[in-house]
Subunit: 205 residues, 4 copies
Amino acid sequence: MQSRTPASRPGRPRSATADAAILAATREALVELGWSKLTLQDVAMRAGVAKTTLYRRWAGKNELVVDAVAELFDELRLPDAGSLAADIEGVVLQFAALLDRPECRSGLMAVVAESTRDEPLRERIRASVVERQKRLVVEGRSRAQARGELPPESDPEESARTIDLTFDMVAGAVVHRTLVSGKPADGPWIRSFIRVLLLGLSAPA
Amino acid sequence: MQSRTPASRPGRPRSATADAAILAATREALVELGWSKLTLQDVAMRAGVAKTTLYRRWAGKNELVVDAVAELFDELRLPDAGSLAADIEGVVLQFAALLDRPECRSGLMAVVAESTRDEPLRERIRASVVERQKRLVVEGRSRAQARGELPPESDPEESARTIDLTFDMVAGAVVHRTLVSGKPADGPWIRSFIRVLLLGLSAPA
Amino acid sequence: MQSRTPASRPGRPRSATADAAILAATREALVELGWSKLTLQDVAMRAGVAKTTLYRRWAGKNELVVDAVAELFDELRLPDAGSLAADIEGVVLQFAALLDRPECRSGLMAVVAESTRDEPLRERIRASVVERQKRLVVEGRSRAQARGELPPESDPEESARTIDLTFDMVAGAVVHRTLVSGKPADGPWIRSFIRVLLLGLSAPA
Amino acid sequence: MQSRTPASRPGRPRSATADAAILAATREALVELGWSKLTLQDVAMRAGVAKTTLYRRWAGKNELVVDAVAELFDELRLPDAGSLAADIEGVVLQFAALLDRPECRSGLMAVVAESTRDEPLRERIRASVVERQKRLVVEGRSRAQARGELPPESDPEESARTIDLTFDMVAGAVVHRTLVSGKPADGPWIRSFIRVLLLGLSAPA
DNA sequence: GCATAACCGAGACGGTACGTCACGTCTTCGA
DNA sequence: TCGAAGACGTGACGTACCGTCTCGGTTATGC
């Protein structure tokens, strides 16, 4: 099988499929081994790739896992269920399901832990996971404001603060419930959580 | 009648001072190296203790770190500041300060991450950190109920659920704010967080 | 001053049965584990004795094994089979059988090897094994001289040299055959060996 | 047609100089520490090589020491001193000198001792030391037969038995004299030994 | 007859080496 | 020119024994 652009560069062209194979192999290894027993050696073997290829593209295990996990979060969708409460319930259920997948549980908290002593890693997480998914809060809020369920924005700076607070509260509570308390973030729990949250958020500032 | 007096066991008893020295050395190593670069070798050296002594008392790095970090949480106190909001603000400030200490940041999330694949470890965390500190929520609630700031308990089961929810929301939000969003859980943020929280919690069920 | 009367010492006397149990346990461990995997820990356990008891009586593994093996050599007997050749054949067969017992094979060469860097150990081996068994050569010679099979002694110094040479040749050849060449020192081999040996020894000086 | 050319294997080839450095370091360590205190850790350090490199090439301490010692034996030469007795005296003197070198004393008996419980090790010793040096006996015999000092071979099987016997008697006696009796295998002893040996061997079967 | 003193078992202690594993780098060959 | 294969130095792992040291408890003699 000849390459697609034979005249573009001399030498052997880079394998186009390698990146996807590596990230998939990383998730597979996370499922079977967890973060602390995951090995670049092993990932390379699963991906059918040499160890050196990994080191050419990622600085280390942490960066690789962030990229592998970040892809999972793009699957989240904000449903339009008719009300703010129902919308949130929908997305939180998806989030809880995501946190139940072992490739996510194992990897996410581990890289967050590593990021406490590695500022570039924290930035990478923020950029490719946190800020990227804040879209869900933004969209949910504007949809609720259109419905009149939330007061319209006054100050844009105040608005950003509220979005941040909402995101920290939702993500934090679900993560804590799931990974620390070790209890399921199921329908009843989510509904009681949303009740408390919305009562607070919908009150006039 | 207590039959489990360890003094009755034959053989040389374990050094009483070693435990404290080891836990202190662990925290010191967490500050300087972080969880992933922390080595039992190194901890033993800092504590002036042989590596084998560590393995005699703890199953591994995870268990050791849990115990070292758990001691920090016992420093938390619920102040009596006159109102529920002020009480919470006080304790959350302490919690935020704790999460700012590198021995806590590095260690806590890491063992939580490990616990996603290690049920006994999760139980150890729950018992020596989570359940142990739930006392703060319980005391804060009963104090607020005495003041009339919260409705009195009706169903004890319902009460337990509320305590759990409160704990997950408070701890989760502060942790997420501090370690994931990477922004300070300072006075203004805490006050806006408490406003939302208390509006939701104080509403009649 | 009474130093050689252990009965007069105050305090609890050493257990008399312990020594025998320890040496037997040592041989048992040699059979099962061999010298290099033999552990004082393990010997103590087998003998139903504390590790400290071993250290009170022997300086270390080497000394213990020498004593355990030396006892085996006292079982050797010089048979009276009517001729020098037959006498030697009888004792060499016994010696070969001894070297086939694993507690002897494993232990003997190992302590000889250790003794190359431990002069006191070499002396202990010499005293409790080599010189002690030289009795067999001495008795065999004098019996053969009485029969007229060997020339009578002239110079006592010359005689000592011949005894030493004979012992080195007999013991050396059997050990080398058995342990290095790894072939059995059986009847045919022994007879051809004795033929060569006696032709040389019986010739006039 | 040689297909086992190691040059054709993929990947980085093994360092050629490492083997020699490791064996030399092993002998050096044998001189200074003896077999039982010799450490692969230490050998690796002396050779300027990582411990893992040792384990990649040798199964353990025993195999390494066999190879290190075997090289020493290739230095033995059979001199042509004009007569069988003088030839033997020459080579036995060399052998005795070899057994006086601490790297040989310490190592040789130790691996022989280990080989009593390790059949592959015994084979390795046999192949790389015993059988390899039997050349000296073979050459000495044929030279003596050419001179008419020994009867010519009749039966080739009988001849093999005689070679084996000779080797066991010579090597065994010298080793026993040197390492067990702890007395020097010097000129006078060697000559009296050879007298006995040759009288026996030169007699007609 | 009862204190004294050496013994005993048990087992924790500071060490040291083990043999393995993964790291991240390097060298070689083949495509 | 890139990638696979794999050897390399490094360093931590968790285990096993070492030889020493407390412990509480057990015999013997000798005052």
